[in-house]
Structures are given as C-alpha cells and as structure tokens.
C-alpha cells in the first residue's frame, strides 16, 4: 500500500505504478467535489508554503487553487520577491523559516537538486515544483492523469515526445513517468542538440522503456496516440549560440496533423508555449492541452490531501 503521509515528492521515479494509480483515483474522486466547495474542510487549518524562486504562473496558481479548494491557507513568494530574499540569505535558511511557518513546502528553484536539498533540511514534506532542468514530478503526474482520462489507460499507447528533451524538465519527467507504465512505443523526437542527457538515457534503458529516436515528426506522426510537445528552454542553454541553431526547428500545425495523424491523436503541452503549436490547433479535436492544464488542480489537490493525511 502506498505510504503517502508526510512524504516528499522530489522525482517521479520515487513513485510506483500502483501509487500513481492510487493518486489518479483520488484526483478523480476530488474532481467532482472541489468546485462545489464540499472539499473545503479537508485541509482546514493547514498552511501550505509556495516557495517559487523561479518564475511560474500555471504551476504556482494551480497549487494555490488546489490548496484553497481544500480549505488550506497559502503563504509564500514569487520569483521577484525571492530575488530580494536571495540577496539576504541562503536557500537553507529560507527553507528552515518556511518549515517553521507551514505544514508543507512547495518549491521551485533554478538549481538542480534544490528540492532534494530542501527536503533534507525541512521536517515538513517538500514537493518539487521544478528544479532546474531536472525534475517536475507533479507535471508528470497530471500529464499521465490526462492521458488516463482521455484513453482510460496509460498502457499500450504509442507516444511521441517532441522538442527540448535536453533541458526541458517536463519532457524528462514525462519520459521517466512512462517507465512506470507499459507504453507500446515512445518516440523521442528532437534535433540532435536537444536529445536527452546521458543520465536520462541511462534511466530509460535501466527501466526498460521501449523507445526510438528520430528527428522527423512527420515520419512517426501516423503511429501516435499521444503527442507531447514542449517548448525550447532558452533560459537553460549554457551556450545561446546552440539555442539559435535549434530555435523554431519544429512546429505542430493543423495542416500537418490533418495530413499525417490519426483522427484520435491527442496533443499535450505543459504550457506555456511559444510558437511550437500553431493556434489553429486549439479549436481542433487534437487539442488536449487546455484540459491538461485544468487537471493540474485536482491532481495537485489529491497530492496535498494524501500527503497531509486528509484523503
């Protein structure tokens, strides 16, 4: 049985398939009641810290909405406020402060390993809302929850993961999450400069994920059930000349989808997007990224409720 109470969420690989399915069930149970206000007693009297050292809108707001729908209060700061904190004290001291003020800490930070470090310092549970290029476990949870919602399963499907597989933590965490299930095939679609880092390949191989690499979306598009698109993470390139080489190197258009994709293909994107998905896809039946974004709230609510012992 899953042990949720008080646990940290650092990497998606910390979770088993059964635990993820258990979480999905809770999210599904919460979906109906969150908006009715009937879940508002679950985390009454709790305080959730939102420590966002790096800019974020969607993730921060969905955690905030999830906490508030469950009746918890939130404290915290945004990236701009964090900049002034950073001048005064180190991360360790900030984490100790939040640990003393709240029941759970959600942290986003630009340095890889910051969430694990925070979890080692804090006595309260810590949820990683993104650490540099490395992990974004709650994004992967809601991504697979979305797939599960659309197809009734995560197994047996053909996935394409398109874009920045090198610096994009959402794409990496999505791939790592898929290792917990049984996809039929996973295509890694990216220009050579944006291929996964060696340690990610190592994890995918160790976990036995069936995957193939390609540079051409067109080539594999007819096979795909799910296309996961990501933006190029300009801010994480060590050398901006490399960014210039790959900028705009892929773009999903309605025309491309209509010519090559199965009619039931679903397109996901962790958002925000730049120009990698044409706006004309938005109104098509392929589009599933707005649903995906909305489902961030029940999935994060389920996670908060389980870790704080309310579900």
């Amino acid at each position: 049985m899953a042990r949720w109470l008080g646990r940290d969420v650092v990497s998606i690989l910390d979770f088993t398939r059964d635990e993820l399915l258990d979480l999905f069930e809770a999210a599904s149970g919460l979906e109906g009641v969150l908006e009715s206000g009937r879940a508002r007693r679950l985390l009454e009297g709790k305080i959730v810290s939102l420590a966002f050292f790096e800019p974020s809108t969607r993730t921060r707001l969905s955690f905030e909405a999830a906490a508030k729908r469950l009746g918890a209060e939130t404290i915290g700061f945004t990236a701009a406020e964090a900049t002034s904190i950073a001048k005064g004290e180190n991360l360790a001291d900030t984490v100790r402060m939040l640990d003393g003020y709240s029941d759970l800490i959600v942290i986003r930070h630009r340095y890889e390993g910051a969430a694990l470090y925070a979890a080692e310092i804090a006595e309260k549970p810590v949820i990683n809302a993104g650490d540099g290029r490395q992990h974004h476990p709650t994004q992967a949870m809601l991504d697979l929850y979305t797939v599960n919602r659309l197809y009734g399963t995560v197994d047996g499907l053909v996935y394409g993961v398109l874009g920045d597989l090198r610096y994009g933590r959402a794409a990496t965490s999505f791939l790592l999450a898929l290792t917990r299930f049984k996809p039929k095939m996973v295509y890694l679609i990216s220009p050579p400069l944006l291929r996964p880092r060696e340690e990610v390949y190592m994890a995918l191989r160790q976990q036995g994920l069936p995957f193939q690499e390609t540079e051409s979306l067109e080539e594999v598009l007819p096979e795909l059930d799910v296309l996961y698109v990501t933006r190029i993470q300009r801010e994480r390139f060590p050398d901006l000349r490399d960014y210039e080489k790959v900028r705009g190197s892929y773009r999903v258009t309605l025309d491309l989808l209509q010519r090559h994709a199965k009619p039931e293909l679903k397109v996901l994107h962790p958002l925000p997007r730049v120009d990698e998905i044409d706006y004309r896809v938005d109104g098509s039946p392929y589009q599933a990224y707005f649903l995906q974004a909305r489902l961030g709230v029940p999935v994060r609510a389920a996670l908060l409720a389980k870790i704080l012992g309310a579900w």
Binding site: N90, L91, A92, H109, R110, Y111, E112, G113, A114, L116, Y117, D131, G132, R133, Q134, R197, E198, E199, V200, M202, R236
Partner: protein, 154 residues
C-alpha cells in the same frame, strides 16, 4: 631499490605507476602527521608493468577509508602488518556512496552553490566502466574525470 619492511602499519601495493601521491592525498595524509612513510614509485611489477607502493608505519586504515583509493587505484592491494607479519590482506572496492571527495561538474547543481552548507554526494552506478552519479542533479562522472579531479593523470 631497497625499502625496508615495516613493523606495524599499512602497505598499499599495486598502485598504478605515478599515482602514489594521489593515493596519499585521498587518504588525507600530507606527511606532516609524523608517520614514517615510504613512497616507492615506478618500480617493476609482474602484474602492472610498473607500479607504485606506499608503506605507512604505525597507521592502520580501515576498509571504508581504503575503498576510496579504488577511485584511482582499482588494482591496489592492501596488507595490514603487525610485528613484521601480514595479518590481513585485502583488495580495494569502489564504495557505493561517496561524499566530499568529488565535486559535481554541473555548475547549476545545488552542491556547487557556495552559500549553501551542502556536501557533494555521489552514488555508484557502474563498476566497469566506473561511473558515479550526483545524488542531487543526476550528472554522471566518469573515470577520467574522477582521476583528473583527484589530481592524478588519466
């Protein structure tokens, strides 16, 4: 070359030629501790062609300390000597966990931030080839980088 036998202490043999000083550095021995110390370098070896040997009189090193030298001297053998007799022979073995010896190559790793009180930590992911992984950021470190960091020549 004549190096007398030691009475009590530790003999580290079969160190790849040229790495004896790095072995001492990993063990934290600077020479100012007062131990009688013999360092033999680039002598003939049947197994290795050429090898280094380190003899430390009056010091017994434990397995955990000695295993760290496997990072740069995987062929090393260790003899614990008491009253001129070898009482224990052992081989070094790469440790599963390494802290504090290596630093992470990734500049945006949390362990590289000077204001944070954090120690770099690595876990062993492969013995052959030697591969360690940063516990915090996942970055891999290969044998050549390890040797370079520890100040030996690759």
């Amino acid at each position: 070359m004549l190096v007398r036998r030691i009475r009590d202490g530790t003999v580290i043999d079969h160190i790849p030629a040229g790495r004896a000083l790095t072995v001492l550095r990993i063990l934290g021995i600077t020479g100012s501790e007062g131990y009688k110390l013999a360092i033999v370098m680039n002598v003939e070896s049947k197994k290795l062609g050429k090898k280094d040997i380190v003899k430390i009189e009056g010091l017994y090193l434990d397995k955990e300390q000695l295993d760290k030298i496997a990072l740069i001297a995987p062929t090393a053998t260790v003899n614990i000597v008491k009253d001129y007799r070898v009482v224990e022979k052992m081989k070094v073995r790469l440790p599963e966990d390494l802290s504090n010896i290596l630093s992470c190559a990734n500049p945006t790793c949390i362990t590289r931030q000077p204001r944070e009180p954090i120690k770099p930590r690595f876990k062993l992911v492969s013995r052959r080839p030697v591969l360690y992984q940063c516990v915090y950021c996942g970055t891999l470190i290969e044998e050549d980088d390890i040797v370079r960091q520890l100040g030996g020549s690759a």
